[in-house]
Structures are given as C-alpha cells and as structure tokens.
Symmetry: C2
Subunit: 498 residues, 2 copies
C-alpha cells in the first residue's frame, strides 16, 4: 500500500460519509449486526488463520471472536436506543427581553475515522474491533490500517465487513482496509486532510508519533491512542495474610495470560515488607517459574521483550526471583519462545529508577517491597498515568489505606478491588483509558459503549423550522429517546407553545 492507496481510501470514505451519516439509526444498527453475522459465518477458518498468525491459541481466539461480535451487537443496541446523541432542547421564550431563542443540539458524526489495529487482539481491537464498531455506530466511515503481524486475518475480517456493507446497501467507501509495514502509510492516513479522528492501540512510541503528526497538521485532529501501562497491583497487609497464596496464583495467571501481551497485564505488584510478603513473593515466583515457555505475537516483539529482560538483569537493585532460565531456542522459524519472569526490588530503589516505571510488554512482573505504608503510598505517587490499578484489601485494609485509594484515583482510568486487572468487561460503565502515557486522551474510553462519544461532536440549531431539524430534535420524540428539555431529562415530546 502506498500513500496513493491511502488517499483513495480516505477520499472514498469521505464520499461514502455524505450518504452514511444520513442513514437511519436502525440501518446503522443493522450494519453492525450484519458485520457480526459475517464474522461468525467466517467460522473456524478465520480462527485457524488468526492462530497461525498470532499463536494465541484457539480457546483464546474463540473467546476473542465472541467479544468482537458482542461489541458490534452492543453498539447496535446503543444506536437503536438512540439516547447517546445527548439531545438537548431549550425552548423559545418570546416574552423575555430580548426574546429567548429556540436552541436544540445533538451529537453528530464527524467524518472518516482512521483506525490502527492492534497486534495483541487480532479480532477485538483490530479490523472490526472496538474502534471500528464505535466509529461506524456514531455514523462515520472507517479506514483501518492493518497490523503487519496478522495480514491474512485482517483481510478475512475486512472481507466480512465489506460483505456486510454491501448487503446493507451502503457505499463501498464506508469501510476500507489498508496495509503497510512502513510507518509512512500510517502517517499518510493521519495526515490526510479528510481524516477527522484517529483510534490507535499499541506502543507509546508509535502512539505518540501519530499524536504528534495529528497535532502538527494545518487542521489538528484528535488521536485516541491507547498505549498501555504497568497496571500496578497493591497488596494490603490483611489481604496478604488471609489469602496470599490465592492472590499469588491469580496474579501469576493474569501476568502470563496471552503470554503477558495484554495492555492490562499486571507489570508491578506492590506491598509492605514482612513475612507474609516474602511468602507471597515466593509463591508468586514459583507459579511464574512453572509457566511453560510460550510464543509471542511476532519476532520483533519477542526481541524487544528479551532486551527488556536483559536490561532488568543489569538494573541495580533488581533481583530476579527464582533461578534464571536459559532463553528457549526457537523450535522453528517464527517468533521465539519466551519464558515468564518475576523480579523484586525495594521501593526505595524503585523510586530512584524511572526506567522501572516503563511498560515491558510480555510476561514480566516486578514485585516492589515497601518498608512501610507511607513508603507504599510514596511509590504510588511516583507512578505515571495508568489504565488500571488493582488493590487487594480487606475492609479494614481499605479503610486504613484511603490515601492510597485516593492517589490511585488520580493516576488511573479504572480501579479494581480484589481482582486482577486483565479482563476488561464490555459494557456501558467500563472505562478503558487513563492519564498519559496510558492514553493520549483521558476523557475517553476504548472499551464499552461510551467509546461512541469519541467520534461525534455537537451541532446546534437555533430557531430552526421543524422540517430542518433531525428527528432527534423535533417536537415529537418519535424515536423515544431521553432528551434534556429545558434542563429536565425526559422522554416526552416538547410541549406545544402556548
């Protein structure tokens, strides 16, 4: 794919937008459902293709397909219900001096959205993943940049989306897939004058480069880049005492799930020193050591992981837990096998070593031992923005660590209590986002129905005659949506003027 190909895709998207944005919500919902149907119809062959390209395994990919389909159907229900447009109506008051105009506003789509597929979710955060679903739901055409690590999976899913677009009678430009290993293709997509917004899931380096490119445009556009984090887990004393072994098992599973290739992988685990901590650390290390070596998504990622591991080996104050293992040799061409690894460092060292706050993508977790409760809170304060933080604590723990909870509330997008950070539920209340460098826009989420707000913006009509208004803003509430009329939430019609 060349810059010319990108230009063609975005120009077609812009053309399709003129029609797609006018589609009834019902028709947009049907498209989302049709995409879900086509993905299901692609059957086991799609999963086999994805497995051959990612080595994620069929059970995981089956469940990821379920999530992908669920996301599409969930956005379809949001679009059908319709209240997401945040319709607001301030009625006229001709008796006032000066007369108060009739003012009505709602959210509308913005135009072509560029979506950069993730390597670690070949289905759910890729061609027909969350960003594509929310952008289409809001009424925007989508141009996806495929991830080079799974081109065939991308093509297969793109064929499913195209079939659905076609079946629903929308213009072919409503959706396009572009490939390109060179960063030039992605840059051309972000810099294209008709591109209105960017969704991205990947590394901090790549996400920031796209953000900078978008901010440097003559007309800047928003970039919603989800760039991962270390997802610190705090183990409070009472919880450690009561269920240290169970926590060790749960965290070791979470840290190695999908070969540690989740943006919510617990990369840091923090607690206060003592006998229960040492027991936990021992149990955790044992669990990690027992995990079989596994294949990462692609060769470069595995190489980066190995470099990160070597760097940690050389980092002052960082001790590898358990016996060091030889890196496994690749059994065949393709990404090498990697072994999970656990480390330990004192909180005082951690505070002095900024590199330990960087995400290492893959099955690596650093345990951080604080000297006391204050030291633990100090370590929390030193953290950058995160997607999640998790806290294991008894009721008593939580009551006495309220400062810690408060500090975390400013650092993260989601606080998990007595559970692991992996497993991001898809629903209206989910927030998968967080302060930089976890994302480039803390105001939005990339998972859950609130993600639709990324790709919409308000338009306001003043004193518009009824026929000029979209259905959502007319006096009669034909769609039955929730509206804010004269500052009151209601599903009523606008009362006729007296």
């Amino acid at each position: 794919m060349t810059a010319h190909g990108v230009d063609e895709a975005v120009a077609s998207a812009e053309k399709a937008f003129l029609e797609y944005r006018r589609a009834e919500p019902r028709a947009r919902a049907e498209l989302l459902d049709a995409i879900a149907d086509e993905i299901v119809a692609a059957g086991d062959e799609l999963l086999a293709t994805a497995d051959s390209e990612t080595a994620l395994g069929l059970p995981r990919l089956t469940s990821e397909r379920g999530r992908t389909v669920l996301q599409l159907r969930l956005f379809a229900t949001v679009v059908r219900e319709g209240s997401w447009v945040d319709a607001r109506i301030d009625t006229v008051d001709t008796a006032r001096t000066p007369p108060k105009p009739d003012v009505r506003r709602m959210l509308i789509p913005i135009g072509p959205v560029a979506v950069f597929a993730a390597s670690n979710f070949p289905l759910a955060f890729s061609v027909a993943g969350g960003d594509t679903a929310s952008a289409l739901a809001a009424g925007n055409p989508v141009v996806v940049k495929a991830h080079p690590a799974h081109p065939q999976t991308s093509d297969r899913v793109a064929a499913a989306v195209r079939a659905a677009v076609d079946r629903c009678g929308f213009p072919s430009g409503t959706f396009a897939l572009v490939h390109g290993a060179s960063p030039d293709v992605g840059t051309a997509l972000v810099k294209h004058p008709l591109t209105r917004a960017v969704g991205f899931t990947g590394s901090l380096r790549a996400g920031r480069a796209l953000f900078d490119a978008a901010a440097g445009r003559a007309e800047p556009i928003p970039v919603f880049a989800e760039m991962g984090s270390t997802n610190p887990v705090f183990l409070l004393p009472g919880a450690l005492e009561q269920q240290g072994a169970a926590i060790a098992a749960a965290l070791a599973d979470s840290a190695t799930l999908g070969v540690g290739q989740f943006c919510t992988k617990p990369g840091l685990v923090l607690g206060v020193t003592g006998a229960t901590w040492d027991q936990f650390a021992g149990a955790f290390a044992q669990r990690i050591e027992a995990k079989p070596s596994a294949r990462m998504l692609y060769r470069e990622l595995a190489a980066r992981f190995s470099e990160g591991v070597e760097k940690l080996e050389r980092t002052h104050g960082v001790a590898r837990l358990g016996r060091p293992r030889q890196p496994a040799l690749p059994a065949e061409p393709g990404p090498p096998l990697v072994s999970a690894v656990a480390w330990q460092v004192e909180a005082s060292h951690f505070l002095q070593t900024p590199s330990l706050r960087e995400e290492l993508f893959g099955p690596s977790t650093i345990l951080i031992r604080a000297s006391d409760a204050d030291d633990l809170v100090e370590a929390a304060r030193s953290l950058d923005g995160q997607l999640t933080a998790a806290v294991y604590g008894t009721e008593r723990d939580l009551a006495s660590f309220s400062t810690l909870i408060d500090v975390l509330g400013r650092k993260v997008g989601r606080v998990v209590f007595n559970g692991v950070p992996t497993g991001v539920e898809v629903g209206p209340a989910m927030n998968h986002g967080g302060p930089y460098p976890a994302t480039t826009d803390v105001r939005t989420t990339s998972v859950g129905t609130a993600a639709i707000l990324r790709f919409a913006r308000p338009l306001c009509y003043q004193d518009a005659p009824e026929p000029m208004l979209p259905a959502e803003l007319r006096n009669r509430n034909a769609r039955g949506i929730w509206r804010l009329i004269d500052n009151r939430y209601t599903r009523d019609d606008v009362a006729p003027a007296v």
Copy 2:
C-alpha cells in the same frame, strides 16, 4: 508576573485541588453563587472600571455582568442537580461464566485548569467568565491569565472571586490570577507540569501557539481554544424579496454591535445576484455608513483592524460599498476610533482569494454575490470551520436549499435560522464551538452547561465495596441523579442483589 509566579500559582492550585475536588456538590454550588454575589456587590464601580479600560459602554457592560452572574448561577444549578457526572452502573452477575464484575463509572475533575481571559468580554469570558465557572463547577482549581487590555477590571473581579473562596472556606489556591504582557507567562502556564487543561478565547495565532505548546509537552494536555470565525450569513431569494430591508438593518446592527468585536460578528454575507440583492446591498451599506465611529478595545487591535481594511482596499475584486471615509483621528490618547465598513465581491473572486476567508476582527463585513444557487453552495463549500452560520430563508427557500443547509452542518457549531449570529444564549442546549480554525476541539462548547464536560474525565470502579464508592455510584441514589443502570436511564436505587 514571572514564570516563578506562575509556578507558585499552579503549585497552590494543585494543593488546593486535593481538598476542593472532595467538596460536596452543594459546597461547590455555593462557591459559584458566592462569586456571583460578590461580583454584584462590586457594583457600579466595577462597571466604571471596565468601561474606562474597554470603552464598551455601561449598557453593554451591565448586560455582560448579568450574563456573567447568570453563567455562575446556572453552573451552580447543574452541580446541585448532579446528573452531569454521567454515572453508569453495570451490576454484577456471578452466575455468568466468567462472572460479570460490578462496574461503575462517573466523571471526576482533572486538576488545575489554566484560563486565558478574552479582551472582548472583560467580564463574561474573563476572570470569572464561562471557562472559570465550568472548571470550578466540575471541581477544578483555576489559574486565570488576565488579558493585558483590562488589568484593573481583572484585579477587581479576582478580588471578588477570592472573597467568595475565602467566605466558603476553600483553600486560597482554588483560584489565582496572573498578569503578564509577554507570551512567556502564558507559555509557562500551559507548560507547567501540573496544569491539566487550558481554556482560551482570542486570536487564531495566539490560540494555535498555546495548542502547539500543550501538544509538545512531555505529557500533552487538551487546549480548548475558541478562536473566532467569519460567521457567514446566507440570504436566500424569498427572504431577501420579502424582508430585504429588515435583514439589512438587523445585519448592520449585528456587524457593528460592540464595535464588531464579537467572535460571532457576521463577517461574510452571501446571496445570489439580482435586483433584490442589489437593493439589500445598498440598504446594508447605507446602514453601515450611518454608524458612528467608535473606539476599539485597545490600540493594537485598532491598528490590526486598520491594516486589515487597507489590505481589503488593495485586494483585487473587492469593492468598498459607499463612499470611502477618512479614518477618524484619535480625539485623545487611547485606542483610535474606527469606522464600520462594508465590501462587496463576486463569489468567483471570493473562491480564488483565500485571504477573504480570514476573520477581520472589528466592524467589517464582506458581501459576496453569487451568480446562481450552485455558485452560492460552492462558496459555502469553500469555507473553513466556523462557530456559526446563519440562513435567512422562507419555508420554500429552505426546502430548495437543503444542500446548502447540509454543507453548513459540517462546517459550523451552530446554525441560526432567520436571525443574526451575535447573541449566544447561555443554556444547556447551546453550542459555542465548531471545527478548526473556529476552535481547537470541535467536541466541546465554551458557552452553556455542556462546557462542564471539558474539565472532567471518567473514572471507573470495579467490584468496589460500597464504602469505597463516591455517593454518585452507591446503591442508594442519595443525590437523586439520573444514572444509566444496566443500560437503562433511571433515578432509582440499584436493586439489591438477589
């Protein structure tokens, strides 16, 4: 004011935030009301000070004070009512495999907000203006950068805000005012690591510079810059025929209101050539010529206006309507008087001359004569992003110009029907924003209650014990707010688990 002073103000704001963000909504609402009370209590002296610094006149400043007070009180009602936090609750389902967690999210404040005061609204878009009101309402401390054109007014209003902060028992860092004629002070404020967002009203040049500074930070922050526009007005044939003279009078008043120093001043007026157009143009020019010369806000602004007028004089195809007048000589030291001016250009020339699409701040309006309806739509297509567009049309006009309305809907934040663009109603449905270069963030408004969304972000709690949850997310809906529970809007409590 130096960079050191900025550092002190932002550091104090951050400290105050730790307390202010925890305040009950009721207490925040009381602060907003108290600021309104203190501004009213500042009485005629405040208006006299503002008039001496801006020459806007007491009637206008009296009404602007009313607007300022209204904004503060309106945000107080929004905060008291409380539903703006967009609370969402997805309840637990332990029967599902894997178990569905309890997920709850709401909007929370973000931290110190930097507000850049506008020159043209010394009260309503300044020290205690819309941005300050919405940022405080959302729970954030505010550091205002005063506009150098009205330092005493700024100080007087700042004293009112400080008195209110003090009376309500909030930390003094909750609000600060910084002065500084040099751009360094503003840059230091935007670059300060603890600043979380920026509100700005002013020129494209200054707004873009702040946007670039914020985007270039190690940790980028959002800039909500409202940078004005040309606010095109479209006069459709039937309306021109039926009420051309009345429209000419209304537009001439709108274009010269406040010496043309509104961001919604109609800078471009477009219609189709013919006898009724020429009659309108003649009537408009006459009205403009009859307007007395007036003093602009400050000397540099008047100088920029005069330069702009001279540039238009020299622009090929642009004709000045009516007899040219000598620029009035300044009667006394201070900003020189300026005369309102009207121009006319053919749409074909307009299309070829990008400089005519730039805003000229002050009482200047360009009439654009299209050869036919298609030419008019072509001119609309060539426009940049705008805060507003206005359309005068009969029912029949509007029906036959649906393409025009459609084109405008993509270009602007607000479409006004049969009315002038000046006069931005403050209410829940207002949208004062628009695509770049009107603003740097099309997703938000700087007027109306939806502005509170600028300075907030979601935080999500997973499986949190009740005592860890903020009041808005607890099972019992003690605040009586609207919440989305299991994807259904309700003011009910969360039903107890069975």
